[in-house]
């Protein structure tokens, strides 16, 4: 099907019928020449391109240019985006030691958890009563899924966080337990636990999906604390979990 300039012009003006529009849009996918013609006739192409000429300005461009590293980066205390990007592939500086990058499966579960948690707002968990007997049942269910004793009093209230709910989720065929907490202001946090060996990665502080995360592992389980807080605060909280209730976990 060939189209005259007049038809194309009418398409651009939104003056074709729905059927004609649909037909043209179906044709154009496989017709680069038609795409080129339509783009050349588009009344906005030129003025929009003009409007963005000189954006970004030279000052900004110079600053951005200076920020490109000479070689593949290491984590730097830069702005958030840069820090995430750097830490994802290079591994994380702990003390002065550069650890190897985590295996992709560990990176994946952390990212999945962070993305899920990013959907949490205070209202997600505000109505959940910490004193409810349901929580007992949920914890028992989670404990069975992990074969791990989670009936630990100090898991309920720790580091300014109040346990609200325990959920059994799954990741790649393995149970993934999410313990939902809130702080005094109602901000949601989650401690996640899933089975999986250590594989040489010990501790990771990383911003994922816009949230601060801190993860660690022992010989049989992986742990992750995530929430909308400064990275350093999450790390402090995570250490309280790690050296507190989660230090001496017993199997069921």
């Amino acid at each position: 099907m060939t189209y005259s300039d007049d038809i194309l012009q009418r398409y651009l003006d939104g003056a074709l019928s729905a059927a004609q529009t649909a037909e043209l849009e179906a044709t154009i996918a496989d017709d680069p020449e038609l795409q080129r013609r339509l783009m050349a006739l588009d009344p906005f192409a030129e003025s929009v391109a003009d409007a963005f000429r000189g954006v970004p300005d030279e000052t900004r461009l110079e600053r951005l240019r200076a920020a490109i590293p000479d070689e593949a980066p290491r984590p730097l205390p830069w702005r958030s985006g840069a820090a995430i990007a750097a830490s994802l592939a290079v591994g994380v500086m702990i003390g002065s030691q550069l650890l190897p990058a985590p295996r992709s499966d560990t990176a994946d579960w952390r990212m999945e958890v962070a993305r899920y948690q990013a959907l949490y707002v205070p209202e997600t968990v505000a109505h959940l009563d910490p004193a409810s007997p349901d929580l007992e049942t949920e914890l028992a269910r989670a404990a069975r899924a992990l074969s791990l004793d989670l009936a630990l009093p100090d898991l309920r209230e720790i580091s300014g966080l109040q346990l609200r709910r325990a959920q059994v989720l799954g990741f790649e065929g393995k149970p993934l337990i999410q313990l939902a907490y809130t702080d005094a202001s109602g901000t949601p946090f989650a401690l996640c636990i899933m089975p999986g060996e250590d594989r040489g990665y010990t501790e990771q502080a990383e911003e994922l999906a816009g949230l601060a995360t801190y993860s660690w592992a022992n010989s049989s389980y992986r742990f992750l604390l995530v929430g909308d807080r400064d990275q350093s605060e999450i790390e402090t909280m995570a250490r309280r979990f790690k050296t507190g209730p989660l230090q001496t976990l017993r199997s069921l």
Binding site: E25, I28, V48, E58, L61, I68, D70, A85, A86, L211
Partner: protein
């Protein structure tokens, strides 16, 4: 040694060359210049980390913009929305940071502002097709949507921009307003 330096210089040069394009696309996604800075920087870093994927015989821009979009959606968008309570609420005065560009005439400024107040998906599509002059097919690939979606986003954007075209005819006849 985790990374070899041997090939980074070529990619680094390419990044410098493509910086304006990356930044404009980052701006079209995020809607805000400071977010675009962060996103551009993260894109450059990620590209350098993934430089084994870089093929200097093929145009890198599509690859770079795909990285940019992925970082925006996966890592920065949710955070930006939480911090600012939404991305479409920026005032025109925040968006039009054009003081450094005295060449800019009023009509171009108006078009710029109007584009920046479009919803994110339309803005990004308009930027790729009108500003970067990607074909509809290439824009669809970068945005990971069917070509029909690109066409309909452009069509919606054209409707939203409709009256500026008429204003523009008048402004253009009146010459540059300085």
């Amino acid at each position: 040694m985790l990374f070899k330096k041997t090939r980074s210089s070529g990619l680094r040069l390419e990044l410098e060359r493509q910086l304006p394009a990356i930044w404009r696309f980052a701006l079209s996604l995020s809607g805000k210049p400071d977010l675009a800075d962060d996103l551009t920087q993260a894109t450059c870093l990620r590209a350098l980390e993934k430089q084994h994927q870089y093929d200097d015989k093929r145009p890198a821009i599509g690859w770079l913009l795909t990285i940019c979009r992925s970082i925006w959606l996966n890592e920065q968008r949710a955070k930006a929305i939480r911090k600012t309570g939404g991305l479409y609420t920026a005032k025109a005065s925040d968006l039009v940071d054009r003081s450094a560009n005295a060449e800019m005439n009023i009509f171009a400024s108006q078009v710029y502002t109007r584009i920046m107040t479009l919803p994110e998906a339309q803005r990004a599509t308009v930027e790729l097709v009108y500003v970067q002059q990607f074909t509809y097919s290439d824009a669809a690939e970068i945005l990971d949507v069917p070509i029909g979606t690109v066409m309909s986003r452009l069509s919606t954007a054209r409707k939203a921009l409709g009256d500026i075209k008429d204003d523009g005819m008048i402004a253009a006849k009146g010459g540059q307003a300085r």
